[in-house]
Amino acid sequence: MSDTPIISAGNLSVDFQIGGGLFTSKKFLRAVNRVFIDIPKGSFFGLVGESGSGKTTLGRALLKAVPISDGKIRYSDGEVDYSLRAMNHADLKEYRKRAQLIFQDPYAALSPRMTVRDIIAEPLEVMRITKSREESDQRVRDIADKCRLNLEHLRRFPHAFSGGQRQRISIARSLVSNPKFVVADESVAALDVSIQADILNLLKDLQNEFGLTYLFISHDLSVVAHICDHVAVMYLGRLVETAPTRELFQAPRHPYTKALLSAIPSIDPDHEGAVQKLEGEIPSPTNPPPGCKFNTRCRFAIDICRKEEPRLEHSSKEHDVACHRWEEL
């Protein structure tokens, strides 16, 4: 893993229009709110937060799959260098090969009418990466083998497979174009624990084999703790804390991260529940509170938190936190 970021986003915002027709004024919902994020090349970068925090939208913005409202994103893998907001059609096509997405639900992501071979080969054909059917077949077999799929199964349809096998098919399809950067959006959330471990190990092996960089979006902190080397925590469209995994889990600085960690039910029955319980729920992004977005649920909130939004600042070399009071807490 090197220190150069493969993805570097600055002041990134994504707005969605809500309501507003002919006679009413337009309203916007800010799903991602002035986010700064650097994803080091070769990292397994975790992105965590509750539902509604904007994790998925941020992931899609980095893939240029949603319109970016403000800010900039730079992609640089050593071979090509793109500024995602100002790129021509040819560059975008090339970027699609280099940046891919693995979906959450392996039941919904695979067409029931296509064979496994056709599902995996589709990106090759759509992006015109291969010249002949034989070449496509060869690439499909190679990647299927790497994803530990039985080659005999390539002629079957997805309904014949279990959740874990389907997720391996889904991964094979995402990796067939030989991407460098992969967004895995809740890719193990729909799987049973016994299968989940298998898919996590596969993602890790594929990373070593192909030198991939992952953005691993998850709501499950214990999964993130095990597989990611960096973690960023999101809340209501804002990045509130980012650090190397070990540091984040051992010395969280933001009150939200602390609360999130203590809310995970411990497997030890003698463990005395959560100490720092979080009251209430995440506010609606259509009507975010002023100041620090977390102030409505934070028990340390003081006047400044309700007025001024804290910036993401270095608390140590690699550990950034956005909280007015991190030093005293």
């Binding site: 509750e50 539902s51 279990s162 959740g163 874990g164 096998q165 049973d192 624990v193 016994s194 299968i195 989940q196 471990a197 298998d198 996590l200 190990n201 709501h219 499950d220 902190l221 214990s222 999964v223 703790a225 095990h226 597989i227 995994t245 070990r246 889990f249 609360a259 999130l260 960690l261 809310a263 995970i264 039910p265 411990s266 497997i267 030890d268 029955p269 003698d270 463990h271 529940g273 959560a274 319980k277 979080l278 009251e279 729920e281 995440i282």
Partner: protein, 331 residues
């Protein structure tokens, strides 16, 4: 006698592809004031077992003749499976037994206010006036931590957030003061912070109302924090049963051990994640003998030939495994 005694429950479904065994010779007990956790992967038969208690399984369900579901009521015991008519089930459904489902949005009628739904079931089961029922409902909503309860009472399910809906669902299930509450993955669709709130709420309510709870989940962490006894299910069979402490700290069945090894634990971030090898077999190709032998590292020839009986390792802890039972000197 315990509040609920399930004896040799066996349940099959008639399907186009043949008869599928969903629950196979399952026995357990639930005491008043106790929480029994039912854990297992998808397809293990947890939900079907719970639905049998409410007789909510579809009409192609066939119960084996020796199956017994005994519920202790104030005026004598009742075998739920012997009830013939729908109206007989009213004593059980919503009266003595309430159920909370995984997806609270799907459990409320979308076009009827939360309040009307709560009042309707109370009037039906408790023979009280609408006014009294409204009072009880609002009080209950307040009790589960919903602010502005009288305002929420008049709202529809879509106006509430996920966590709030699940609280309302709990309020509704508890307003009839059931003796037994079945909670089917009640926190799975919720965020961890909200999950922690709901778990706390349920713990408080057990203490306050003293009812028995069957808590179904695939999450061992949630079980560790809520249940006092746990039964581990695999392919329709209970493979291990005991106190939460025994089962989690001293697992006996290879499947329980496999589940624990596959679970990412915050306490030990460097531990490798070991998947349980293979996939859960299709219910149409049910393995012979011990149902787990196709994925088990300890499997011996006898495991595929005969079904291991539940044997007691000590007073509280039982396991259905030839190899482990022998190793622990219990067979």
């Amino acid at each position: 006698m315990s509040l609920l005694t399930v004896n040799n429950l066996t349940l099959q479904f008639d399907t186009d592809e043949g008869r599928i065994t969903a629950v196979d010779d399952v026995s357990f007990e639930v005491n008043s004031g106790g929480v029994l956790g039912l854990v297992g992967e998808s397809g293990s038969g947890k939900t079907v077992t719970a639905k049998s208690i409410m007789r909510l399984n579809s009409s192609n369900a066939v119960y084996a003749p020796e199956s017994r579901l005994l519920l202790k009521l104030d005026d004598g015991d009742v075998d739920i499976l012997s009830l013939k008519h729908k109206r007989d089930m009213q004593v059980v459904r919503g009266g003595s037994v309430s159920m909370i489902f995984q997806e609270p949005m799907a459990s409320f009628a979308p076009a009827i206010t939360i309040g009307d739904q709560m009042v309707e079931q109370l009037v039906l089961h408790k023979k009280i006036t609408k006014k009294k029922a409204s009072d009880i409902s609002i009080e209950m909503l307040d009790r589960v931590g919903i602010s502005d309860a009288d305002k929420r009472f008049k709202q529809y399910a879509f106006e509430l957030s996920g966590g709030m809906r699940q609280r309302a669902m709990i309020a509704m299930a508890l307003s009839t003061r059931p003796k037994l509450l079945i909670a089917d993955e009640p926190t799975t669709a919720l965020d961890v912070t909200i999950q922690a709130q709901v778990i706390d709420l349920m713990k408080d309510l057990v203490t306050e109302f003293g009812m028995g709870i069957i808590f179904i989940t695939h999450d061992l962490g949630v079980i560790a924090q809520t249940a006092d006894r746990v039964a581990v299910m695999y392919l329709g069979r209970i493979v291990e049963q005991g106190t939460v402490r025994d089962v989690i700290k001293n697992p006996a069945h290879p499947y329980t051990l496999g589940l624990l090894d596959a679970l990412p634990k915050l306490e030990d971030m460097d531990a490798p994640l070991t998947p349980v090898p293979g996939d859960i077999p299709s219910p149409l190709e049910r393995p012979s003998g011990c149902v787990f032998h196709t994925r088990c590292a300890l499997a011996e020839p006898r495991c595929s030939q005969s079904i291991p009986k539940m044997v007691a390792l000590d007073q509280q802890h039982t396991v259905a495994c030839f190899v482990e039972a022998e190793k622990r000197g219990a067979a």
